[in-house]
C-alpha cells in the first residue's frame, strides 16, 4: 500500500542521475513492510492471563518529528558546507524548471549550482537541468505527492554538492502537501504564474504562510489574462506579512536580474 495516498501501486522511491543506470533503491515505506512481514500480531483478546496492565504514556510528540529531526540534520550539513539550500514549490506548470534553467545560466559563472529534482515519474526535468551543465539528481516519488527530508538526505549524498554553492530542490508540483514537510532548506520559495488566478494564495494559505519569497512568473502574459498582481500580493500577505515578492518572466527574462540579485544577496550574507 502506498505510503502517502493509500493506493495499491508500488511506491518505491527512486533517486537517479540522468544518463546513469545506477539508482539508489529507497523504500519510504519501511513502516508498512515491517508491519506485514515481521511483527507478530498481538491482540488483547489473545491473552491467556486474566491480568493485563494498562499504562498511559504522555507523549506530547509532534507527528512529523522524524521528518523534522532529519530536516535539521540536513540543515546542519548545509550550514557546515556554506550551501544555500532552496526548496522551490508550486503547482505543476508554473514554470519552475524553466526558471531554474535561466537561473543556472545567470549564476553559473559566479556560483556553483546543484539541483535536486522531484517528480512522480520521468527524468525529464533532470535531463533539462543536465543540459545546462549543473550537476543534478532526480527523485521519482512513485505515487508520492511531496518530497520529505529523508529523500533529500539520500539525494544529497548522491549529488555531493560542493562547499560555497547553491542547492535548488525542485519539489513535486503540488501546492498542498509539500507545505507540511520541512526538507532542511534555508529558504522556501513559492512560484505562481499569472495564468493561475490571482486568488491562488487565498486558496492555498498553508503554502504561502510557510514561504519566504513568492515569485510571480509569466508576467509576459499579463496583457492576456485577468490577473491582478496587487490582489495576489494582498492575499499572500494576509497569511504571511513578511513574504517578499519578485515579478518576472522566465521566458523573456524580464525581471530575472532581480531574482539573481536576491539569490546573490543571500549568499553573501550567509558567508
Amino acid at each position: 500500500m502506498c505510503g502517502t495516498c493509500g493506493c495499491a501501486e508500488s511506491d518505491e522511491v527512486k533517486i537517479m542521475r540522468p544518463h546513469n543506470k545506477e539508482t539508489i533503491e529507497y523504500s519510504n515505506d519501511n513502516l508498512t513492510y515491517d508491519y506485514i512481514h515481521t511483527h507478530d500480531e498481538k491482540h488483547a483478546h489473545d491473552y491467556h492471563h486474566h491480568h493485563s496492565h494498562s499504562k498511559e504514556i504522555i507523549l506530547e510528540q509532534d507527528i512529523l518529528k522524524k521528518n523534522n529531526l532529519l530536516a535539521e540534520r540536513n540543515r546542519g550539513y548545509f550550514d557546515a558546507k556554506n550551501i544555500i539550500s532552496i526548496n522551490l514549490v508550486s503547482s505543476p506548470g508554473s514554470g519552475k524548471t524553466t526558471l531554474l534553467e535561466k537561473t543556472i545560466s545567470g549564476l553559473k559563472d559566479e556560483l556553483p549550482v546543484f539541483v535536486i529534482e522531484g517528480d512522480q515519474q520521468t527524468m525529464n526535468d533532470a535531463e533539462r537541468i543536465k543540459n545546462t551543465g549543473a550537476p543534478v539528481v532526480q527523485i521519482n516519488t512513485g505515487s508520492g505527492c511531496h518530497l520529505d527530508s529523508s529523500m533529500v538526505n539520500l539525494a544529497v549524498k548522491k549529488l555531493e554538492p560542493k562547499e560555497n554553492s547553491i542547492l535548488f530542490i525542485e519539489n513535486v508540483g503540488n501546492l498542498v502537501c509539500p507545505s507540511m514537510f520541512d526538507l532542511g532548506e534555508n529558504f522556501r520559495i513559492v512560484v505562481i504564474s499569472v495564468t493561475e488566478g490571482d486568488d491562488k494564495p487565498a486558496k492555498y494559505p498553508n503554502m504561502f504562510e510557510s514561504s519566504d519569497l513568492c515569485i510571480i512568473n509569466k508576467t509576459d502574459l499579463l496583457p492576456y489574462v485577468d490577473f491582478n498582481v496587487k490582489k495576489a500580493k494582498k492575499y499572500a500577505m494576509q497569511t504571511n506579512q513578511n513574504i517578499e515578492f519578485i515579478e518576472l518572466s522566465a521566458k523573456t527574462e524580464d525581471g530575472l536580474k532581480d531574482w539573481i540579485n536576491w539569490l546573490k544577496s543571500k549568499f553573501k550574507v550567509e558567508k
Partner: protein
C-alpha cells in the same frame, strides 16, 4: 493526500512505545489544530487502514481538535479564529500571527501488556 503519511508516522511512533514494553496500543489521543491543514476525516480514514495488522489494530483513536487563535500584528490583541484570513476584531488590521491551531501531535497513548511481570 498527505494524511496517509501522517497516519503512518503516528503508527510508527506508537508502535515504538509498544515494542519497548512488548505490549499493544489500546488508545491513541491526537491533537490536531484547526489551522494545521490536516483534514480530520481523511486522517481518520487513513489511520483506520494504517493501523491494520500492527500493534495498534485494536486501538481506539481519539481526536482533540485545537481551535485556532491569532495575535494581531498591529495592536497585539489575541482572538479566536479558525480562518487563515482574519481581521482583528479590535482594530481591523488584516495581518496576524497564529499562536495556536497548527498543532499535529500525539498527545498520549495507552499501552496494554500481557502479564504483570513484563511491565
Amino acid at each position: 493526500m498527505h494524511e496517509f503519511s501522517i497516519a503512518l508516522n503516528v503508527v510508527q511512533s506508537a508502535e515504538e512505545e509498544a515494542i519497548k514494553v512488548d505490549g499493544v496500543i489500546t488508545e491513541v489521543v491526537l491533537e490536531i489544530g484547526k489551522l494545521s491543514g490536516v483534514v480530520k476525516e481523511a486522517l481518520e480514514f487513513a489511520l483506520d487502514e494504517a493501523k491494520k495488522r500492527t500493534r495498534l489494530s485494536g486501538a481506539i483513536i481519539k481526536y482533540i481538535e485545537i481551535p485556532g487563535s491569532a495575535k494581531c500584528n498591529n495592536c497585539g490583541n489575541t482572538y479566536d479564529t479558525d480562518d487563515h484570513f482574519s481581521i482583528c476584531p479590535e482594530c481591523n488590521h488584516p495581518y496576524c500571527s497564529f499562536i495556536r491551531g497548527k498543532e499535529m501531535r500525539i498527545k498520549s497513548i495507552k499501552v496494554e501488556t500481557e502479564n504483570s511481570i513484563k511491565v
